[in-house]
């Protein structure tokens, strides 16, 4: 595997990969007695058709057929600024964040344009969240109302897109989500639940979409999204971001290429601090677009952070509103979902106006920040060289992805295992994880996660089993067995089953012996 740049030693420390081969932990195989399990079925209302009313055995036949979108002319838009929600009054993620953006896009009259169709948000179903996350202790604790609305907004637009009402869509929403990983113990990087991942699983379950590409254009590495789809060869995840050695979350290096069976389907593009429009557009043209063309995804999503902006208070890049508009024009995502961006006065009003106009195919040439002068940021020659190095390394990794996968699989037996340490900056939680992937010859293999979280004096240990949507029957059975085995294990507080194939989600509280089914 080519690792590129040779500057990645630091990054490897936190995420060392351990090959433990076929050996597997012995577990207490005591069967649980059915009468001891109290089952709670959670059904929440959705404005969409309920999937739980449909037959359970044939998930493949449940799909609604996406409509041909070639006739759609409009850009779907949900503007959900959550004017009544903040992490704390002076936190960057506060009520005011999209206030000036509201002023700008309303004053521009964008919602009146015949090219724009404005939609009303709705709440995501708990089941939509369970399809992605193991929420500790439960979904309600991690996904509060504003989170459900932000995620639900993405789903409203996904439906509009799949029904052929719009040609593309932009969820201009908060709170954000791209730092949230599969296990959600708390808030990381302002995120509790992952909006893009929830969107992807919804699209796959409801419409049978298989190949999806996510391009994360936030200045921070989209580590949550990366983690969720790390072993999934059907989801191409590309993230460009300020080099992780200089910015939260400190990951996103070129050696993070995906799990053994999905190598090359995670492409990280660390950018030197100070990279202007020119550099990002170069990476887009030279690397991102060719890979996308090659991957031929059914849908392209933009995880659209706006903190690469030259005035962002939390990062050090030099991207402009014009640059953002151009990026969206070139990338032409089917859907964009707002992530970060905290220059709420100097950047967001202009960047969002630019993105909306670009996605709607309108003239954005007059969108500019008050202090912006064309040519004010020039790409340093040294940084240009670094970028050229990144592009050639990652192109090589991409082109060799099949042989990389082959070589990597040969190294492992029936299971691939890795240990991870995850820090939740907002909530000050340290999490230690052991992830196990079944190296199945027939499918991508089920995943189990053993996670321990330390939060001040509290320790929580959970176990989760995840069955991929296109898993083989044997993996599904084995995974469900793994879940059952843990139900009497006193080392855990909560045990989760995420069977995406059956669209069935269970959470078991060991102490109360109560099982919740979503």
């Amino acid at each position: 595997m080519k690792l590129g740049l040779g500057k990645i030693k630091d990054a490897l420390k936190g995420g060392s990969e351990k090959n433990t081969g076929a050996e597997k932990k012995e577990l207490n195989e005591e069967e649980i007695e059915p009468h001891r399990v109290e089952e709670v079925i959670v059904k929440t209302k959705t404005s969409e058709q309920k999937s739980e009313d449909e037959p359970e055995n044939e998930p493949e036949k449940k799909h609604m057929i996406p409509v041909n979108r070639s006739g759609a002319r409009r850009t779907g838009l949900i503007f959900f600024p959550a004017f009544d929600w903040a992490i704390s009054p002076t936190h960057p993620e506060r009520e005011e964040r999209l206030l000036y953006t509201r002023d700008q896009i309303f004053e521009e009259g964008l919602m009146d344009l015949p090219q724009i169709a404005e939609y009303k948000p709705r709440l995501a179903d708990f089941k939509d969240i369970a399809r992605v996350h193991f929420c500790v202790p439960d979904i309600k604790a991690q996904a509060t109302t504003p989170h459900l609305i932000a995620a639900g907004s993405c789903l409203v637009l996904a439906d509009a897109l799949m029904r052929g009402e719009v040609k593309n869509a932009f969820a201009l929403i908060r709170p954000p989500g791209h730092h949230s990983m599969t296990v959600a113990h708390g808030n990381r990087g302002f995120c509790n639940i992952n909006n893009e991942a929830i969107l992807v699983e919804y699209l796959r379950k409801k419409y049978g979409i298989r190949r999806i590409a996510i391009v994360d254009t936030d200045v921070h590495h989209g580590d949550g999204t990366q983690e969720i789809f790390y072993n999934d060869p059907d989801v191409l995840f590309i993230s460009f971001h300020q080099d992780g050695r200089t910015l939260y979350p400190g990951s996103g290096f070129m050696n993070e290429l995906g799990g053994p069976k999905a190598l090359g389907r995670t492409i990280n593009i660390p950018l030197p601090p100070g990279t202007p429009d020119e550099g990002i557009l170069y990476v887009l043209d030279a690397l991102v677009m060719p890979i996308l063309k090659d991957f031929r995804p059914e849908l392209v999503l933009n995880s659209a952070g706006q903190d690469n902006h030259y005035t962002d208070p939390l990062a050090n890049m030099r991207f402009s509103a014009q640059g953002y508009a151009k990026l969206n024009e070139k990338l032409a995502p089917d859907m964009a979902v707002l992530e970060g961006g905290y220059a709420i006065q100097s950047a967001l009003p202009y960047v969002n106006t630019g993105i909306i106009l670009a996605m709607a195919g309108l003239d954005y040439s007059c969108v500019k920040e008050p202090d912006f002068k064309p040519g004010m940021f020039v790409q340093a020659a040294r940084d240009r060289q670094i970028l050229e190095g990144v592009v050639s390394t990652q192109l090589e990794n991409w082109n060799n992805r099949d042989s990389l996968v082959e070589a990597e699989i040969a190294k492992h037996g029936d299971f691939y295992r890795r240990k991870k340490q995850i820090f939740y900056d907002t909530d000050m939680i340290q999490e230690l994880q052991e992830e196990t992937v079944r190296m199945c010859p027939d499918c991508q293999g089920y995943v189990t996660i053993d996670s321990r979280a330390h939060r001040s004096i509290n320790d929580t240990r959970i176990f989760g089993v995840s069955v991929p949507i296109y898993a083989c029957n044997r993996c599904q059975e084995e995974a469900r067995e793994e879940y059952k085995k843990r139900l009497n294990s006193p080392v855990y507080e909560y045990v989760y089953l995420q069977d995406k194939k059956a669209d069935e989600y269970r959470a078991y509280n060991i102490r109360t012996k109560q099982e919740t089914v979503y």
Binding site: E95, E107, M111, D112, K120, L357, D363, Y364, C366, V367
Partner: protein, 570 residues
């Protein structure tokens, strides 16, 4: 006694009300070429034999502005626009636009100064091109009008004869293109409207009617006629507003109703939710232009008593009737040439207009084409017409439910209301309302005097008033969107701006609303004012709270004057 007159497209209706009862009514055909004549004609007829000193109040709703715009009888206006960064102004479709340098941001901070030399050059150009009116509108001009004011000064100095309209005075709401359109239309219709008002006053003077005179606005509120010349475009669509207020006056308090005004060519719909007429979330559309004019959420569909009835073959060989969208001329039973829903209603005995034999002939023709008996064909026509109206009502409710939401509580709010009553007003309602109500599972209501419900609405409408206050404690200023002035917070009795709370913002808004109500001569209704929304945002700069932004929106909502006692009519 109260006089209400609604100048509609086809007829001008008038009503005289005494002690909360309808005393007399009148209907005269509208002469589109001379609205004043129709208006005065209806006034004379309804007030015949009543001494003029008995009249306490006269209210008109008029289509004069709507007609001026529809017929293109407006004056040319030079648009001096200061768009700043954002949407490319080249994409705007406004006529006679002159773009100027200069820009404000969303908080009213200047980001580019005016180029005065360019302004002067532009003023010369508009004079050379023969414009005698100008509208000056800058993006975020409502947050800081200084560019608009400076351009006005230069215009007055260089071109004193030119009439000037300023965007921030016309509307303080966000939406630059709508402000441009509204300012342009206000300027383009202002003088002709003033002429119309002068003629009305003269005619009333001749008849020794000295009662206060009001004009009905699109939001169902009355405006003193002298004041209305400042806001001519507010009077558009006062017809549907009159019908809605009429329905409100004629139905029990607090109920949810859909108001259906079935005319010859079109049917107008409006909603009353728990006794409150629904205001559209955005301003009215006028021809090709979206405006900031506050109006009831009304919908007009191309189906009415005189719509053409056709028989069409569907794909699977079945034949079905379709209604409209064109007008057939008068109904066949009224001497027209084509079958209409009115003929079907006549055959079924649901209305008693026209020649029954001709109605039979018309429907027989439809029936033979359908291959069905005559009565069944008539029922099918009535049913199809009612279904079109019912469907439009359902869509209206759905649209209201699906209005965008920007706050958590708005998303959580359950908007699942369906009408209890289908209230028919206007002439054509009679035969169809029952069918529409049945489809909507609601009660059909055709109140007494429903044929002049619009005029009753005008007669008993009360004033409305809005006030949108914005306070920026960092910049230490406040502004009232409707008035367009930026005022220092030092002029208020608020002590410590940084500790200001929502209650203080709301009490400032209440005080300003009282002052504004006084200026409009509607102090009597100031106690009816309600806070529509009140928000506060912390402005955080460099991790510290640098100030607060308050937005308080208040209104005196549409309603009825106390002289009208509704319970007796219900």
């Amino acid at each position: 006694m109260l006089i209400g007159i609604d100048v509609g497209g086809t007829t001008t209706d008038a009503v005289l009300i005494q002690n909360g009862e309808v005393y007399s009514t009148a209907k005269v055909p509208t002469d589109a070429g001379n609205l004043l004549k129709s208006l005065i004609g209806a006034l004379d007829e309804v007030s015949r034999g009543v001494p003029p000193e008995n009249f306490k109040r006269v209210v008109f709703s008029t289509t004069v502005i709507t007609n001026l715009i529809a017929e293109g009888k407006t004056d040319r206006v030079a648009l001096l626009l200061i768009p700043g960064p954002g949407v490319n102004p080249a994409s705007y479709v406004f006529p006679d636009s002159f773009y100027l340098k200069g820009a404000m941001d969303y908080r009213g901070r200047e980001i580019q100064p005016l180029d005065e030399a360019e302004v002067r050059e532009t003023v010369n150009r508009i004079r050379e091109q023969g414009f005698s009116r100008a509208a000056v509108v800058s993006k975020f001009g409502q947050r800081n009008p200084s560019h608009e004011l400076r351009v006005e000064e230069i215009l007055r100095e260089m071109y004193p004869g030119c009439k000037v309209e300023l965007g921030h005075k016309v509307s303080g709401k966000l939406n630059f293109p709508r402000r441009v359109a509204t300012s342009m239309l206000a300027s383009a219709t202002g003088e002709r409207y003033q002429g119309f008002v002068a003629e009305i006053k003269k005619a009333l003077e001749e008849r020794k009617i000295r009662a206060p005179v009001y004009i009905l606005k699109a939001d169902g509120g009355t405006l003193p006629i002298e004041k209305s010349v400042e806001f001519p475009v507010e009077t558009i669509f006062s017809g549907p507003a009159a019908s809605t207020i009429g329905a409100l006056a004629l139905t029990p308090e607090g109920q949810t109703s859909v108001v259906v005004d079935i005319g010859g060519t079109t049917t107008d719909l409006a909603l009353i939710l728990s006794g409150k007429p629904l205001i559209a979330s955005k301003g009215a559309r006028l021809g090709n232009f979206l405006t900031h004019v506050r109006a009831f959420a009304v919908r007009s569909i191309a189906v009415g008593g005189d719509s053409i009835v056709r028989v069409r073959e569907t794909g699977d060989g079945l034949r079905k009737v379709t209604i409209g969208p064109e007008r057939a001329g008068p109904a066949y039973c009224m001497g027209g040439e084509k079958p209409t829903p009115t003929d079907a209603l006549r055959v079924l005995g649901l209305v008693e207009v026209g020649d029954p034999e001709r109605a039979k002939d018309a429907i027989t023709a439809v029936a033979s084409s359908l291959g069905k008996p005559k009565t069944e064909a008539a029922s099918l026509i009535v049913d199809a017409t009612a279904e079109m109206i019912a469907q439009a009502v359902r869509e209206m409710f759905l649209e209201w439910e699906q209005e965008p939401a920007y706050r958590i509580w708005e998303v959580l709010q359950e908007k699942k209301v369906r009408p209890e009553n289908v209230v028919g007003v206007g002439g054509g309602a009679k035969g169809l309302i029952a069918g529409v109500a049945e489809k909507l599972n609601a009660k059909p209501v055709i109140p007494d005097h429903s044929e002049v419900g619009n005029a009753i609405g005008a007669a008993v409408a009360r004033p409305t008033l809005t006030l949108n206050l914005r306070i920026d404690t960092q910049q230490k200023v406040y502004s009232v969107a409707e008035e367009g002035e930026i005022v220092s917070l030092n002029s208020t009795d608020i002590g410590n701006f940084n500790r200001m709370r929502s209650e203080e913002a709301e009490s400032l808004a209440t005080k300003l609303l009282r002052e504004r109500a006084k200026r409009f001569g509607v102090s009597k209704y100031a106690d009816e004012a309600e806070v529509v929304s009140s928000e506060v945002f912390n402005v955080v700069e460099g991790w510290f709270t640098a100030g607060r932004l308050f937005d308080v929106s208040m209104q005196i909502p549409a309603g009825l004057i106390p002289e009208w006692d509704r319970r007796e009519k219900a």
